[in-house]
Symmetry: none
Subunit: 275 residues, 2 copies
DNA sequence: GGAGCGCTGTATCGTATGTTACGTATTTTG
DNA sequence: CAAAATACGTAACATACGATACAGCGCTCC
């Protein structure tokens, strides 16, 4: 049973020609506000012509555009009446494949942050922001993108940020550059990689401060780490989820940025100028 | 400070003549929906004439009726963006520095999935799983790690998965390998990169099916995309958040894996054997 | 490689909508 | 109580909006 227009679109979008599909996608993206504006605004937002918009609403079963808008307004009105039933999509009508995954992920994040004190996060942020030395980031097979993501952001707001990529032998050589004043951020979740462990140990021996992002079972690298962030990774999937760690990373990026704001803002402006 | 139109009305309703006061009262009674309808409907609902409605909105300081409607729409849009959770749930017990960021991120994810139908996700997963051709992934400056993350997983369960890295000229050369049977997954959020747009256009011309991960404002690449996933990115930080898109990516990875389970399981076992 | 079909945009049209002018009613004030 | 000022509705107007006809283009299927 299809109750609202969003579902109706999702149901039929597969059978739509390219132009109308673009209309559908822009409507979904900012649902339902675009649909309440004029045909001209809708069409230009979607990058198609007005007739395409009209054909789109006609395909949805509406006689004309005003009738379509009335439909959207009725939905909105019903929604505003009962704020409790705020869900546009009925609360997971299809015991579908999506919801359990999302639910588990949200739980993971709440759990992760529950075990993570503001204090700890602030300490790490401060350590990264004070920039007494260099910052290196590295990750495992599936978590290396997280290291890259964090490096990409940090590199904008401060110098001396390096992502360690490529072969094991490559980064081992970088050990020479590392010392007491430097920070090494490592991402390592199951199955923990021996190569990372060996690397972490050597860095530790050189006095490098290690910040470890790992899962709740703790990578063996925790033994050498100054700071350990343990994220929940369990989801109903064949794979572990790094989403919670990703959010922690973003939070940390935000915190560091805030601390460097005076400095960073100038840097960012300068960089904008270079574009 | 008066922030929304409802307050504005409450502030000035005392100084209004009878007819306009009736207009004000009917608007507040079913706020704001009546205001989004036509002047004629509004006037008859209030039991006054059209000009009275127009004088009413003029007294509120609007130049004309459409401008008044835009004001209401903007309010609604702002309301819908930050859903009820914030008003329902107490504003986060520990008012620490962490919570606002986490809260916003969780909201973003809920909001993103609310606009994302299971159907659409399933369609994309099927397209990726049927493997008629090759799968290419690429991302922008900050989103490329997401492309890498997804590529790293997909590459385990099926052959012919390629992440496009490095310089623009590098991937442009790969266009030769791409055709109708292939899929190109692009991550592009603000500020949208011209290089990606050009690449997407050329790929589209070659008949490549494009799956686009973007933000709610839709990258211009949406024009060429077969499937568009619009994630929320707004967080209280200097940076945009890619966390919602990350979770969608993980969900998609999970869905593809499930579809390929028969095949994939064998592959995974084989790969384990190679370690 | 050619014929047919379907999709999309341009240009035009009719109309519903917001706007304004004016006359009447109602209230206010001296 | 009278006169003026304000408020309100009717009716005519102009504009901008949605609707439609048509032609060009690309795609698919013989």
């Amino acid at each position: 049973m299809i109750s609202n227009i969003a579902e109706l679109i999702a149901d039929r979008i597969g059978a739509m020609p390219a132009g109308e599909r673009r209309a559908a996608q822009t409507l979904i993206a900012n649902y339902p506000m675009i649909g309440l504006k004029t045909v001209a605004e809708f069409s230009s937002a979607a990058g198609v012509s007005s007739p395409t918009i009209l054909r789109f609403v006609a395909r949805l079963g509406f006689q004309n555009y005003p009738e379509f808008q009335s439909g959207l307004q009725d939905e909105l009105a019903a929604q505003l009446q009962s704020p409790a039933i705020r869900t546009l999509n009925p609360p997971s009508p299809n015991g579908g494949t999506v919801s359990p995954m999302l639910e588990a992920t949200l739980d993971n994040m709440r759990e992760t942050f529950r075990h993570l004190s503001d204090r700890q996060l602030a300490d790490i942020a401060t350590r990264l922001a004070e920039r007494r030395g260099k910052t290196f980031l590295i990750g495992g097979r599936f978590t290396d993108p997280l290291a890259r993501y964090m490096a990409a952001h940090l590199a904008v707001i401060q110098p001396d940020v390096f992502h360690l990529a490529g072969q094991e032998s490559m980064w081992r050589d970088r050990l020479i550059d590392m010392g007491k004043r430097d920070v090494l951020v490592i991402f390592d979740i199951r199955r923990y990689q021996g190569s990372l462990l060996r690397f972490a140990e050597k860095a530790h021996q050189r006095g490098v401060q290690i910040v470890l992002f790992t899962d709740q079972w703790l990578s063996p690298i925790a033994r050498f780490a100054r700071h350990v962030i343990a994220g929940r990774t369990a989801v109903p999937s064949a794979w572990d989820s790094s989403a919670a760690l990703f959010v922690v990373a973003e939070t940390l990026i935000g915190a560091v940025t805030r601390q460097l704001e005076a400095d960073g803002a100038r840097r960012i402006r300068e960089m904008e100028g270079l574009r």
